[in-house]
């Protein structure tokens, strides 16, 4: 079978990502945007395109789109003209989609990711624009009619269009993952590809390595997961290479991916595409993004994954892997950040988040923002260990489960109740003494031979280990006991 390597070809991919914005109401109407309602329940006169209706812009949509633009380093367009994209379709009530054409809200910018070999890749963005979603056409099987559900009509979308900068299907998946991470971080879209709140089309072509002209581009649609995007691209590459090797031509067309077979089939050729007759929307005033508005949006931006990761690396001295993990989702990152405001042991804090807390979240199906254990509380435990009052194993196995149950009791009293605190806990002290004894076998022999004065030296070691917290009376007895019994 032909491969890119064997034919000395390279892949060229650009992505078009549609992200449904998680605003309460639609982009041009006050109807709700909730997913999964009974068909045709969130449809007012504007959504239905009744005569006399006009779009009423939801400003939140602009704000969300600007946040995405700022996150990707885009230029923000200050004077936004909306446009009509005209075509007939039953789920498009107005007969045109209200979108942006010549003045997309964000221009330029890019997405930075690590490629499959760890190398840094920067995929440039062409634009991000806002528009409305269409409704859904349902084709009941075996019926001679189509049903239209307009709940989704008018739900706000941003369309993120990359330049054709991607060279591997794996990198396409990584870029898409990064986009999803950013929209989730910003809280502007839930990034759920299965429910269709994030959708991705891929423009795929191949060309001989070294060529500076692009091959004929094929647009792939209908991928319902990031994995499918990768599959669809891989399949398309093989299809195109096969055509080339057979001397056939590649047609510019739109192809639909079939998740069952992993293959694609042709929807339409680009040549008979609609002429959308774009023109500026006269029913909606252009939107001006003022300096004040932009500043306010900037101030409301959370720190982004990339920045956070850098900070975790540099400021907290975490490893690459730990920093990546902790900056991956907004919930985890903010938990960690709050945690380290209470403890200086950044590494231990990271381990607690990635270990016990992540396990807890997985087991209970919780997100980090749902975890009841306050970071301040957890920090108390971490500090307790650092002070040598308790060992990690005890903390994790015995104190931690109690903390999850009882929020209001201090770590100290839990440890005390469980008799875990080192100074009065004979078992713990005994273990420590045994460790010391093992460290100084000669001194132990000497002690046993009668040099009882060495007891002071052992006591000194023990106090050093427990930072002076061991109860001297109990310690003396235990020391004698241990040193005697080793014989």
């Amino acid at each position: 079978m032909e491969s890119l390597q064997s034919m000395n070809y390279e892949l060229v991919v650009g992505l078009e990502v549609h992200a449904q914005l998680s605003t309460q109401s639609k982009i041009y109407a006050s109807d709700a945007t909730i997913f999964g309602c009974e068909p045709n329940t969130n449809i007012g006169v504007i959504t239905l395109a009744h005569p006399g209706t006009m779009p009423k812009l939801n400003k939140k949509v602009i704000e969300y789109a600007i946040k995405m633009g700022l996150a990707c380093g885009c230029e923000i367009t200050r004077y936004n003209i909306f446009c009509r994209k005209n075509y007939f379709y039953p789920d498009l009530p107005k007969g045109y989609q209200l979108t942006q054409d010549k003045t997309p809200i964000c221009m330029g910018g890019g997405i930075r990711v690590n490629g499959q070999h760890g190398e840094e890749i920067y995929v440039r963005l062409n634009r991000i624009h806002v528009e409305e979603d269409a409704g859904k056409s349902l084709h009941p099987e075996g019926k001679a009619y189509t049903q239209v559900d307009l709940n989704r009509a008018g739900v706000p979308l941003i369309e993120i269009v990359t330049e054709p900068d991607i060279r591997h299907s794996a990198d396409a998946a990584t870029v898409l993952t990064e986009v999803r991470k950013i929209v989730r971080f910003l809280g502007i879209c839930d990034g759920n590809m299965e429910e269709g709140s994030m959708r991705c089309d891929a423009n795929v072509s191949v060309r001989p390595i070294g060529s500076d002209v692009y091959g004929k581009k094929v647009e792939l649609k209908n991928m319902n997961s990031i994995k499918q995007v990768r599959q669809a691209i891989d399949h398309e590459v093989s299809r195109q290479l096969k055509l080339i090797s057979e001397g056939k031509t590649i047609v510019s067309e739109t192809r639909t991916f079939d998740p069952v077979t992993g293959a694609s089939f042709s929807m339409r050729e680009k040549e008979d595409l609609n002429d959308y007759r774009y023109f500026p929307e006269p029913d909606l005033s252009p939107v001006r993004v003022t300096e004040e508005w932009l500043e306010a949006i900037k101030k409301s931006m959370p720190e982004l994954p990339d920045t956070l990761k850098r900070r975790f690396l540099n400021e907290f001295g975490l490893s690459e892997a730990d920093a990546s993990f902790l900056s991956d989702s907004r919930d985890v990152a903010s938990y960690y950040q709050e945690l380290v405001s209470f403890t200086k042991n950044y590494k231990a804090a990271a381990n607690w988040v990635m270990g016990p807390l992540q396990t807890l979240a997985n087991e209970k199906g919780l997100s980090f923002s749902d975890i009841e254990l306050k970071p301040g509380k957890l920090a108390e435990l971490i500090n307790f260990i650092d002070e040598g009052k308790i060992t990690y194993t005890m903390a994790y196995q015995q104190v931690f489960p109690v903390m999850l149950e009882k929020q209001n009791i201090s770590v100290a009293s839990i440890a005390k109740d469980l008799n875990l605190v080192i100074e009065s806990n004979t078992d713990a002290l005994k273990t420590l003494i045994q460790q010391i004894a093992c460290k100084y076998p000669d001194k132990v022999k000497e002690y046993r031979k009668g040099k009882k004065g060495l007891l002071g030296m052992f006591m000194g070691e023990l106090m050093k280990e427990t930072k002076g917290k061991a109860d001297p009376k109990i310690a003396t007895n235990l020391l004698k006991e241990v040193l005697e019994e080793t014989s």
Partner: protein, 474 residues
């Protein structure tokens, strides 16, 4: 109650306790009945308006009535009124009932106006003679063999024949001013964006204006001041303050009045109309105003510019009438494309189909720049030229129409001939500036002649003052 001509007549009757609102409505209902042959109304809200009149009578007794109590209003069939039909005189909206009320209309209702019915017009407001209605033409009350003008023909005739106190219309390229001139009534097209378009069925959105027909300036000014102003449902509407137009209707001091000299010299304008304008200019000169000839070289481009842009916008605005969601749907469709084609071919009239096709053509990729883009550029030039004249002068006087009311069927064979009826009205529409048509005498056949007064942006107050002071019949 022999005749009611104006709102002040009604107020006098009510204040003198010589009539109730109910009496007023009964009076109009009788007149409407007597004038059925004019075909001005598509629907009369008889019961409902009587009921509302009784409620308002109570409010009057309690001293709680609004400013328009007793005013009876007819609405062109392009305004949404909750739970009432709206069809734009088209079959395609057969059976459609609006679920909300237009902002402009709601403001009149809030002041206790009574809506008496829906008025006939050209289908989707496309036409200059009211012959494009799916429900038959409206007849000019001055001469039943003649057209009332269009597209708001029903509104003009309703006021002309005294079937209501005032009527609402929409003016995209002259649809208020031209029928006002043909029917001897006052009609204003305010500045674009002065009145909310929410609830006005869209024809060409960047031109459409809500306006008023009345028998006198005072009523016109009162209705406009109540309708105009910002509206959260129409982002394009101006936020600038609305003066109380009706409070001061007198013009003081000398004005600078411009007229386009090419119009008086050239052909294509009926001789009576030229003379009518000349004598008005003479009258103003004698009254101490400065009358100045100006040149408007771009005037000849106004009509083509207008028709390119309005067909483009309307082709898109009318896309929603597709048989899917509401209104007419063909019965014998095979598949979706067939359904679209048959529905729209069967239910749209010829002129509407022509404009949809023209608009689709001028927006199509291969012709976009040659037509749409170029027309937008010319629009900007015309706007700039108009503003220049109106910055240097207070008013621009023009005829409203090249001829007085023509015969039914006279021009409807050749659409281009019909489009020429808009020759003098499209300029203010293209520029977005306010213009008023006032009755100004009669031609040799005793047909009404209108005069058009045009002012700069948001100068409706000045327009009303000047028109009321020099061109008022009372």
């Amino acid at each position: 109650m022999e005749s009611i001509r104006s709102f002040s007549d009604i107020r006098q009757l009510i204040e003198g306790k010589n009539a109730s609102c109910e009496d007023i409505v009964l009076f109009y209902l009788k007149k409407i009945e007597e004038n059925r042959h004019l075909n001005a109304f598509l629907e009369v809200f008889s019961e409902e308006s009587l009921q509302r009149a009784r409620i308002i009578d109570q409010k009057i007794q309690q001293g709680k009535a609004g400013r328009l109590a007793g005013m009876v209003v007819g609405i062109k069939d392009v305004f949404c009124l909750k739970d009432h039909k709206i069809q734009a005189a088209s079959k395609i909206l057969e059976g459609f009932v609006s679920q909300f009320t237009a902002t402009a209309l709601q403001r009149l209702l809030d002041e206790d106006a009574i809506i008496i019915g829906r008025l006939n017009c050209d289908e989707f407001a496309m036409g200059s003679s009211n012959e494009n209605s799916a429900y038959g033409p409206v007849l000019n009350a001055a001469d039943n063999s003649r057209v009332p003008g269009g597209s708001s023909g029903g509104s003009a005739v309703a006021v002309q024949a005294g079937l209501c106190t005032v009527a609402l219309g929409s003016d995209t390229g002259g649809s208020i001013r031209q029928p006002a001139a043909f029917c001897d009534v006052v009609g204003i097209k305010p500045t674009y964006s002065r009145v909310s378009r929410y609830g006005l069925l869209a024809y060409a959105s960047s031109f459409d204006c809500v306006g008023v027909f009345s028998s006198n300036i005072e009523d016109n000014a009162l209705v406009l001041e109540i309708m105009a102003g910002a509206d959260e449902y129409d982002s394009t509407v101006s936020r600038s303050e609305v003066p109380a137009y009706s409070k001061n209707l007198l013009w003081n001091g000398p004005a600078k009045v411009a007229y386009v000299k090419e119009l008086l010299d050239g052909d294509g304008v009926q001789e009576d109309i030229k003379q009518n304008l000349s004598s008005s200019l003479q009258m103003l000169k004698e009254a101490g105003h400065e009358v100045i000839p100006v040149s408007f070289p771009l005037l000849k481009y106004a009509l083509p510019t207008y028709y390119i842009l309005i067909t483009a916008e309307s082709s898109s605005n009318l896309s929603r009438y597709d048989g899917v969601k509401y209104g007419y749907r063909t019965r014998d469709a095979k598949g979706i494309l067939d359904m679209y084609k048959k529905t729209r071919t069967q239910a749209f009239g010829e002129e509407v189909r022509r404009r949809i096709m023209l608009g689709t053509f001028v927006l199509s990729a291969s012709y976009y720049d040659a037509f749409y883009t170029k027309a937008q550029k010319v629009r900007n030039l015309i706007r700039a030229e108009a503003i220049k004249i109106l910055t240097e002068h207070d008013f621009l006087l023009m005829p409203v129409t090249p001829t007085t009311a023509f015969k039914l069927g006279e021009h409807n064979k050749n659409p281009l001939e019909m489009y020429l009826a808009d020759l003098f009205t499209v300029q203010a529409s293209v520029a977005g500036i306010p213009a008023i048509s006032v009755p100004n005498g009669y031609d040799a056949n005793n047909l009404p002649i209108g005069l058009q007064i045009i002012a700069n942006y948001f100068e409706e107050e000045q327009l009303y003052q000047f028109a009321n002071t020099y061109f008022s019949r009372s």
